[in-house]
Assembly symmetry: C2
Homo-oligomer: 324 residues x 2
């Protein structure tokens, strides 16, 4: 049975939804969860969870990292935060993965200090997984870990993304695209043009430059970009999809007859909204550190946490990272 | 009466939809249109248009710029393209604005050579106008003219965007935000951090860093970014909104009962789809060149062209650019 360390304190809905997600995941996936939180939070949530006859072990951390705390401060000042304790559980082999919906900057920073980088990787990257319009899983990275990139970082993002998709998600020769302002090789910033040359010479299935619309339309399986562009696009995507469905809800609810016919249009609209909910795949692996680390969205509810734990379990089983 | 030069040859639906848009705009807005195209296209479209008793004057150009032709080549090799002729009409004062749905790189390049930059402007920028979720018009720039930017370019994008929104769209003290990966001043790429310092010291209403979700949620009136990020976000936005409505159409049409109830849910869904159609505002002004230039989307139909001409008319009336 895999043991997954879970940050009870991270995210907008912590600790209640995190604990609920742990219970769901443990019973559904048959994983052991090491629930890491303050004594108070554990008393209130881990004891209740244990009653459900699932395998949840409480683990105390005395500190909590705030959502806006700079990552390096979180490491310097809080050696006993739930994030730091979780990383140490992975480092010591007491857990094979760590899942957190907490401060992404802190998770990145602490992972570097506690676990270190994978062999030859210059910069770890946060990779988001989502479903494109053909309902196929695709990856976009980096989404915020490295705002200023060198060409070689982008090359490595492509290599790591390709490796993850084939090893963990069992995709054959994933198509890796480099996000640019045009498909032509001549298009792109200085950074993109140099990275293009490096990716072309690599062993992965590099298909060249891709554009903004390819991200949704399935123009590649792995979309490589710097953490600045990736972060802007991701946040934009989340808000755009959310806004469209809010507008729809308002418009469909504004008329008595339309409202009355909700049993007819409600289910299809709801299912489409779920398809376009970017948290649906649930969980962004942190690639390039020595450990299986999954970040979950700050807004995660129990079901999102469950999905992130499922991804962590898959990473363990497919041996994304194996302790040496 | 304003005279607006219109590129009959530019865009996926040229020349038929362009000519139709000219007729609509001329009769609705009372502007004179100078329709610029090849003899053949003019024979087929301008003569028919003239019959409608609107003020449309044909103007011959012997060359046409292809959609993928590099901008500088288009200038070097085609001094008599519809784009070059249009710019010269503006330069010579025979038209007060030029509207084109053609190759944006070519329009940018030719405008620089024919019209030159406005006083003190280092790099012109393409600004897109759209409606945010509160249905208010907002601007995003640059969307592709400058992929590698210096901090001062971003400062000037903010200044030009602010001037356009207040002068042409009569907005009071437009809020200018700098797109970054976090609201905090400490967040951003090296470029963004330096531009932040400059924008802070400027006279415009700079509200600091904004994030991807602010673009939709109305977190600023003018969103400043480099042409690489702007281009990726814009293309992504267009495809995401389109894909969501396609999914909805499929889902709502897949069931007999739901399909039969279309009179109930159809109109609200359609109106929301229109609100989220990024071509709805129709027309992206090219800011920083000596002339009133409006780019229309390559996919423009007659109605989009009409809207772009309306924007050009407004730019003339509010004296965005005045010939010296």
């Amino acid at each position: 049975m895999e043991t997954i360390a879970l940050d009870l304190m991270g995210g907008d809905n912590a600790p209640a939804e995190i604990a609920a997600g742990a219970v769901e995941a443990s019973s559904e996936f048959g994983v052991a969860i090491m629930l890491i939180g303050t004594k108070d939070a554990l008393d209130r949530h881990a004891s209740g969870a244990r009653l459900n006859d699932v395998s949840i072990e409480p683990m105390e951390a005395t500190q909590v990292v705030g959502t806006t705390e700079p990552g390096t401060n979180a490491w310097r000042d809080k050696k006993d935060s739930s994030i730091a304790v979780g990383m140490r559980m992975v480092k010591e082999g007491r857990a094979q993965a760590f899942v957190s919906a907490g401060n992404t900057g802190a998770i990145s920073a602490v992972s570097l200090f506690e676990l270190g980088r994978m062999n030859k990787v210059e910069r770890p990257a946060i990779a988001t997984l989502y479903r494109n319009e053909t309902n196929k899983i695709a990856m976009l990275l980096d989404i915020g870990s490295n705002v200023d990139c060198r060409p070689k970082f982008l090359l490595q993002f492509g290599e790591m993304g390709s490796a993850f998709m084939s090893k963990v998600l069992l995709m054959e020769r994933p198509r890796v695209g480099l996000i640019s302002n045009g498909h032509e090789e001549s298009k792109g910033s200085k950074l993109v043009k140099e990275a293009h040359g490096m990716l072309k010479k690599s062993d992965i299935n590099f298909i060249g430059n891709v554009e903004g619309f390819d991200i949704i339309q399935g123009g590649a399986d792995v979309f490589v970009t710097d953490g600045f562009t990736g972060n802007v696009v991701l946040k934009f995507a989340e808000s755009l999809a959310g806004s469209i469905f809010n507008s729809l809800k308002d418009a469909l609810g504004s008329n008595v007859l339309t409202r009355a016919s909700k049993p007819l249009w409600g289910p299809p609209v709801k299912s489409v909204a779920r398809q376009w909910d970017y948290s649906a795949v649930g969980g962004a692996p942190l690639l390039g550190v020595n450990g299986n680390i999954v970040m979950s969205h700050g807004r995660s509810d129990a079901s999102d946490i469950k999905v992130a734990i499922g991804l962590a379990q898959r990473m363990i089983r497919e041996r994304w990272h194996q302790p040496s």
